[in-house]
């Protein structure tokens, strides 16, 4: 659950309604259009369709009220109403006659508490004159009946319009939400919805569903009713004239990105320079800096197609696969223990990592890669994909974790909330959750030929998961899809086939988004593994097209998509912003400054220093290829921890932390990483001193090997002015050490830009 959105959610629920004119008008309009049975007439009031929405709208069943797992003040409701049967039982039967007074309905504790007539921790939720009060009273007057089995159930909700563009800040819009039911009927349920927004600084929405355009930008607003959540895209255009310069496009990515920018009246930045591109793409594709020779060759080339050729060349290196193996190693949580009684053995992790590395260097199709992982069977020591089932949940097989993590790894969906209640900000219900968990109920693990070895296998006759509320066996059902035929089959293989089918947008878009995020530091849906209705893509057509191309046009050959991305003008835009895009952080109108991953940064440091680092207990020559990540190198564990290397305690992509902070700066300044390399058996500066008699070329060489560019004239003169006027080698060595130290401590070095 996103705490930010949750807080927003709560604050809106409690927020005093803004009684400005438009809002009142909207409410009146909404009331007039309400097609539900008028309360107070000879009409049946439904517990599920009329009473429970009152609970949700009033916040009774929220997590901080009676919806908490232990309830509140002795009374518990299911969180956001995921268990109507249980709620009905607790209202009427848990303490008969306590909460409901059939003889004198208006004296029911339920109403007396809600109106504040009797002391209520939650305060007064509505008045006796309110419609909420009248609905509940009417239901009580009717004898507080439960719904019959034939009673219609909500099947979905929708905004009347799914996107809206405000021409300027300062205007507002009253949203309208309609629910459809199993009997085919529809109801305006706007006033019973809970509303929230993704960007309150641009377009907040209030309790009544009124959207206010505050400033230029993009946002989404969401409505929740029953177990459904829907979103609406809102754009607020800036004031003033706007001329779209029609910048050139290199491929479909640019067309889709620029279309969005044009729509938002944002101008993209200029194209980045050759040296900027060289450094950016080399780090992104190989996790390394361009060498001085590569710099010289690229800068000297006048080939019009040299950028594309560079992309192809970099992707042909093993390092390209190693970059992705490192990422997958984190997402798949390769984590081992020297004592196999406590965790998965190192040998298993080693083989697993090298298998993944091989898949990446040989560019195995991503759908095939996923299929192999999900179908992993046999020995964790000889059948590496089977480690999918020993790494995610070490110690014992855990279908709960396997199902949750599978959804997160391959679809970016976090289903955890739905384990205990229907997802509050997404479409996933408990039924969805347990039906999906059933795919993993048959996974078994046993010891193999030795204590380190585990065999993973599947009991095809295993019972499906049972619903925790009523114990129903939950037949295997794909997330957001149909029931699966798993009879006498390995359910995981059935799941894998569904997941990787070219038409499955959940998988293909998540894979495309993870790739995209690698090159932009931010996903089109961000975070990449928090896909939900309330976290929509910032550019939906772009997301859809990338996923479609990856799956259908490229048959999950990720290199082809990466080539598209790196070849696009969007990727090659400068990080320098203009007045229209300086605030943009979501629409890719300029290149963003991205701090390098911890392992890549460590490798770039040692590369720039020409320092051979010996990793403890490892034959690896780079942190990037340490099979459990660089942080397992005891010598430099502090470095990797400080720079946010994923600990692999979960499959969350958020574990790889790339924000910059003071600790990192202090470590570079005071820590041993740079200092040790400069002091111990240095080779770089002595070599430069051997080859150059004057200072200028040495400074230029240091700039190229660290920042992949030559110094500006100002920089050069500035540095030259600080150098001692001496020919004494030791003094000069120290002076250039200082120059190199300064370059390595610059933010320009630490960031990819």
């Amino acid at each position: 659950m996103s705490s930010t959105i949750f807080e927003t959610f709560r604050s809106y629920r409690r927020q005093t309604v803004v009684h400005h004119v438009l809002a009142i008008a909207a409410i009146l309009l909404t009331c007039l259009s309400f097609v539900a049975p008028a309360v107070g007439e000879e009409t049946h009031v439904s517990f599920k369709n009329d009473v429970m929405p009152v609970f949700m709208k009033s916040g009774c069943n929220a997590g901080d009220c009676h919806g908490s797992s232990r309830g509140q003040d002795g009374f518990r409701l299911s969180l956001f109403g995921y268990d109507p049967e249980g709620d009905y039982y607790r209202l009427l039967e848990e303490y008969p006659s306590r909460r409901i007074n059939r003889a004198e309905p208006e004296k029911s504790l339920l109403l007396e508490k809600a109106t504040g007539y009797v002391s209520h921790t939650g305060g007064e939720l509505f008045t006796a004159e309110s419609e909420s009060y009248r609905i509940i009273l009417e239901w009580l007057n009717q004898g507080a009946p439960h719904d019959s089995e034939e009673a219609p159930l909500a099947t979905g909700i929708r905004f009347q319009i799914d996107k809206h563009k405000f021409e300027r800040p300062g205007s507002s819009l009253a949203a309208k939400v309609t629910a459809t039911y199993t009997d085919g009927s529809e109801r305006d349920i706007t006033r019973w919805c809970l509303f929230m927004g993704s960007n309150d600084s641009v377009a907040p929405i209030n309790d009544a569903g009124v959207i206010e355009a505050k400033k230029a930008g993009g946002a989404h607003v969401f409505a929740r009713f029953d177990k459904f959540t829907v979103g609406m895209e809102v754009t607020v255009l800036p004031e003033g004239d706007f001329d779209w310069p029609d910048p050139p496009t290199d491929n479909y990515i640019d067309e889709l990105v620029f279309a969005k920018l044009q729509d938002m009246r944002i101008l993209p930045s200029e194209l980045c320079s050759d040296d900027q591109f060289l450094r950016r793409v080399t780090i992104d594709l190989t996790g390394a800096l361009p060498t001085p020779d590569e710099y010289a060759a690229f800068m000297a080339s006048d080939d019009a197609d040299k950028r594309t050729k560079l992309i192809d060349e970099l992707m042909s290196r093993d390092a390209f696969g190693e970059v992705w193996a490192a990422r997958w190693g984190e997402w798949l949580r390769i984590f081992t223990d020297t004592n196999p009684e406590r965790g998965t053995a190192m040998l298993a992790g080693w083989n697993y990592y090298h298998w993944i590395r091989e898949q990446m260097t040989e560019n195995t199709r991503l759908d095939e890669f996923a299929r192999q992982l999900l179908s992993g069977n046999g020995s964790n020591l000889t059948s590496p994909p089977s480690n999918y089932y020993t790494m995610i949940s070490q110690g014992k097989v855990d279908p709960v974790r396997l199902s949750e993590d599978t959804a997160q790894i391959f679809m970016g969906i976090r289903t955890q909330c739905a384990q205990c209640h229907n997802h509050p900000f997404d479409r996933w219900t408990m039924d969805d959750y347990y039906a999906f968990q059933s795919f993993f109920m048959g996974v078994r693990r046993k010891h193999g030929s030795e204590a380190r070895e585990y065999f993973t296998f599947v009991d095809v006759d295993a019972e499906p998961a049972s619903h925790p509320i009523d114990g129903r066996p939950m037949a295997h059902k794909f997330l957001g899809g149909e029931h699966a035929d798993v009879e006498d089959k390995d359910a995981r293989k059935v799941l894998a086939n569904w997941l990787t089918a070219p038409g499955n947008t959940l998988f293909r878009e998540n894979m495309a988004n993870r790739i995209w995020a690698h090159f932009f530091g931010k996903g089109i849906i961000d975070p990449v593994d928090d896909v939900r209705i309330s976290n929509p893509p910032s550019n939906e057509p772009l997301m859809a097209e990338l996923g479609r191309r990856l799956a259908q046009d490229y048959a999950y050959d990720q290199k082809k998509l990466i080539r598209d991305i790196c070849s696009s003008r969007t990727y090659q835009l400068s990080a320098t912003t203009n007045s229209s895009n300086e605030q943009d952080e979501r629409l890719f109108s300029h290149s963003s400054l991205r701090r390098m991953r911890a392992d890549v940064f460590f490798d770039c440091l040692t590369q720039a220093l020409e320092y051979k680092h010996n990793f403890r207990r490892s034959s690896a020559d780079r942190a990037l290829v340490m099979f459990e990540g660089g942080w397992r190198d005891n010598f430099n564990e502090y470095f990797f921890r400080t720079f946010g290397q994923a600990k692999r305690e979960s499959v969350c992509a958020c574990e790889d932390q790339t924000e910059a902070n003071l600790s990192q700066t202090l470590h570079l300044i005071n820590g041993k990483t740079i200092d040790q390399a400069l002091q111990r058996n240095p080779k770089l500066i002595p070599s430069l001193l051997d080859h150059h008699d004057t200072d200028g070329p040495i400074i230029e060489a240091l700039f190229i090997r660290t920042l992949a560019r030559k110094p500006s004239e100002t920089e050069l003169q500035g540095i030259l002015n600080t150098l001692p006027e001496t020919s004494e080698r030791r003094t000069r060595h120290q002076a250039f050490n200082n120059v190199l130290w300064g370059l390595l401590n610059s933010s320009e070095f630490m960031f990819n830009h």
Partner: protein, 840 residues
Amino acid sequence: MRNLIFVKSCLHLAFLALLCAVPQSASAVEWSADFVLPQLAQRGTMVTVRIQGSGLQTAEEVLFYREGIRCTAIRQLDTVPHSHNGTPLKVEPGKAIELDFEIAPDAPLGEYYLRLRTKQKLSEMLSFWVTQFPVVPEEHAFVDTGETRNDSPQYAQRIPLNCTVSGLGCSNERANDWDVYRVALTEHQRCTCQIISARLGTVHAGGLTDMAIEVRSPSGKRVARNNRSALFVHDPVVSFIAPEAGDYLITVGQQMDSEIRNIHYGLHIGDFPRPAITFPLGGQLGDELDLDVFYLDGSRGKLKAKLPNEVAAFENSMVELTTITDMPEIPSPNRFQVAAFPSVYEVEGHSRPENAQTIDQPLPVSLNGIIRTEGEKDWYRFSAKKGERYRVRVYAQTLGSKLDPFVWIKPAEGNPSRRVYEQDDSLWDGHDWEGHHYRHQVKDRLDPVFMFEPDEDGDYLLGIADTRREWGDDYVYRVELQPHHDSVFLYYKDYPVQYTIMRDAIGVHRGATQTRPFAIMNGFGSQYDGPIRLEARGLPPGVDFDSPIFTKNDPVIMATFRAPADAKLQTALLELIPHAVDENVNLLGAVAQTHASNAQRGGYSPLFNKTRKLGFAILEEAPFDISIDEPGIGLAKNAELDLKVNVRRKGDFTGAVYLEMDWLPQGVTKQPPLIIPEGEDVGYYKISATSQTVTGNYRLTITARENEGGDPFTGVGFHYIGSPFISVEVMEPYLQIELQRAAVEQGKRGELVGKIRHLRKFSGVATARLLRLPNGVSLIEEPAIKYGQESVVFPLKIEADALTGQYKEIACDVKITDEGQDIHQQSGSGVIRVDEKKGS
């Protein structure tokens, strides 16, 4: 295969010398015999090997566990070669010896367990291997010139086909070292490369040996790669048909970065066939069979097998494939199960219970088949009679099959039985061995073993499948429904501190006794619970063996060995056979001893040796001997007994002696180890019995060693001496005292009365004192008790500042002197209430 620039700095060499000067074990533990090098040799040759360890100055003899190798000479060494460059490094006296092994021309191939006997000790178990091929030493990296040697294709070491390389992987210098060999093959020639490394057991601690092989063709194509095998688990093996003529590069090394160093290996490289598996996996005594052979190189073939007419018990019912076929000898040949009962072969089309293959002949029988398709289940139908007992034992992983069998038996339709059997894996006892359930996980235990005991006459269905739903033509199985025999096994009891893993051999000093407790384990499905006696076979002449009758009251059976003072120093292989005391009972039994011989980490031992015979040696006279005086009285329940232990010192030994009992009956507890100080000859070892102890006569011994000067973990440097048995009777207590409740007052005198119940007559006068009295309350005088007295009064003095309140668990300790020996017995549970002084 990395280019590593070797910097020949003096500092570096000094560091290397420092590293290599210590024994090659990564552990700081001192072993009697740490390792033997080289660890393999060709049959029919003489080889000089080196053993490093401790206390080797008096090395005299090597005990081999099977015939084929003879040690003809032992020489002391004062230097050992550097493991990589051969530079002589000085070693302390007694740390290294050189031995000549003469390997008979007809010596069986494979592993030989051995122990080294010095005058003071029989060493830990080591392992030596015999190959039919000439042994070629690896040209290590850093030899002579300081350049890399065989760790890259450029410097690949050329070797002939059909040889065994004796190599060293993972040097001290790097986390991962790869050795590359070059061998010439003709087109279509078979080549098999087979590693022995984990099985060598050279590395005792600090890591695990996990090697890998990769073979590339002359054109650079990878033709084979393996890091684990169904046949040998940790040790890889590849076999391939050469696709082209030319030089092939064979690379071997630790498959992952490793903390361990000096991993020795043997690499058989030859054109010998390498069967992966055969079908069937077994047959009946005397059978002549046509075997389908699945070779590791992917080819298939046929072999004619002539099964022997008799086989030995337990695992010895498995014979080597090369002994029953005309296949040439190969290293580590496949094994083949031979049984006394007939075999039934699978007929295709029996994958459902309704079309189960019907077995016509009566049990016992074996079922032989293959799981060929995904999720396949093979069903058999057979008849059984109520009251019969069978051990259902599956042979698949045990014999190298890839199948992970899952087996079930259920009644067929019409059979009223409701009993269903399902089994996936097995415990150690199903294989007639003992071992730790987790640490000693081996592939054999993936084969299910269970008892089938039909409770109704009628038809039953047996099904078998692969647990993982894997399949293939080499997923072969053999299910034996074996007739059951009750059995008993024994092994060294391992819990006493003195019985460390290295004391897994029996060394008896001349003129002294050696004591050993053995754990008794009921054989699989065994229902025998009567008394057992031990028979010792193979003892040297003059050695006395003594062992009390074992009863089911205790899981331990004791044994003592005593060598005469003039016994010849020698070794022997000892068999201990458990027998039912009732000679009419047919009880099978043997030693089932596992020896951790290999890499261990966190107590985890991936490979270990198993023996049915125990190493035994007569050692030179120890510097002391011990005995316990027979106590004149018994040990009463709830009482203590001091056993008088006598140390008889010899020569100039005056040091302290450390004593501990290895075994006591259940309910009898012992004091912490007794140390008889330097120069003293007598000590008292206190034992006590709880009320739960079973009364009866028990035979006890005690074990002694020097208090210092050795390694308590490995036993190196110590002499272990046992006392001859003494008899101690655990008996009912003399009396019971029931303390009455009492109320006393601060500053006054009071009394506590106890009622006496006499259970056993004693002479003389007993005295009693109170235990656990509250602060400020004291016993004025210990009252005397005579036999027949009905009560006793304890006079108490209560101080003015005694803490008030009620105090429970007041007990009394009664000292009874009987037969001249003091017996302390505790009794009673009283309550005292201390009141405030009245008027205060």
